[in-house]
């Protein structure tokens, strides 16, 4: 027996999607933030060496991924069954993603 398609009247709340979108923006931004921190500070450079052959890149990426997943879990728990103001969340997430793209560009990162 075929599964019945959800009708257009029973729309899923957008909270779950919003949680995924915002956390991806946060994770991306944290990646560029940690990359700059590791580049500018000897303390963070050493702190982020989780795996010596890969150097600080291992800690920068692992930390950003952990923050992304934790943020996703928290937001999912809070918004799963809610309808949220997605326009503002989308804007924030896209700004964070755009900033992360910009901040990973070495000439821009060098400005800090």
């Amino acid at each position: 027996m075929k599964k019945q398609e959800p009708s257009t009247t029973a729309v899923l709340p957008n909270g779950s999607g919003a949680a995924a979108i915002l956390s991806a923006g946060i994770g991306s931004f944290m990646l560029s933030f940690f990359a700059i921190a590791a580049d500018k500070s000897a303390f963070f450079k050493n702190l982020f060496v989780f795996y010596k052959p890969t150097g600080p890149l291992s800690g920068v990426t692992t930390s950003a991924i952990l923050i992304w997943l934790i943020a996703w879990g928290i937001l999912e728990g809070r918004w799963r069954n809610r309808t949220v103001t997605l326009a503002r969340i989308n804007a924030v997430a896209l700004v964070l993603l755009g900033l992360s793209l910009l901040l990973t560009f070495p000439p821009v990162a060098e400005l800090f």
Partner: protein, 188 residues
């Protein structure tokens, strides 16, 4: 015909995962547009909904494999420290690039950007896959979710393109070589 173990891993990382991701991503962008943005959006049969979900999950796997092999298998060979007094830097690609002003930019701009920007790809496409899996056909009722999925997929394509371009140029200027030699076939 022979290939070194490190060259083989570079091929698997760049051509196997990276280039395949770029090809798949262009397809995903077309499919997302066709399903959710074009006038023909309602023509997608309900039974074909799973196709896009499986496709995006496969892309996420490719993206994660690309960054993980890059960071944990190839990058350590790339950044290996040459012993003091080493004259032939062929086995130390980063040092080889930095040894000449004509090539140092491939490291200071190319690798420095590539090693970080590449990670935006798996994060973005995993998010896109998760949203499509969660909402499926219901995405038609969420224009802002669709817009975000499309935007993040586009950025993942851009980030993978930057990483791919610099990866190819780095291999041209300072290939990661060495390790066991794999004999593929005899010559004539």
């Amino acid at each position: 015909m022979e290939i070194t173990e490190r060259s083989l891993w570079t091929l698997i990382h760049g051509m196997g995962f990276g280039a395949l991701y770029l090809l798949a991503c262009s397809g995903a962008l077309v499919e997302l547009y066709r399903r959710y943005f074009s006038k023909a959006a309602n023509s997608v049969a309900p039974e074909n909904e799973n196709f896009l979900k499986v496709y995006l999950v496969a892309m996420s796997v490719l993206a994660w494999l690309a960054v993980l092999t890059g960071a944990y298998i190839i990058y350590p060979w790339y950044r290996a420290v040459a012993p003091v007094g080493t004259a032939n830097l062929a086995a130390f690609p980063q040092k080889l690039l930095q040894s000449s002003p004509a090539t140092s930019g491939w490291h200071s701009l190319g690798m420095e950007w590539k090693e970080h920007v590449a990670w935006l790809t798996p994060i973005s496409i995993t998010m896109a896959a998760a949203v499509v899996i969660r909402y499926g056909r219901d995405l038609r009722n969420h224009p802002q979710l669709r817009a975000a999925v499309m935007s993040f997929t586009l950025i993942s394509f851009l980030a993978a393109g930057i990483a791919g371009f610099f990866g190819a140029m780095l291999v041209k200027n300072a290939p990661v070589e060495g390790g066991r030699t794999i004999h593929l076939m005899d010559g004539e």
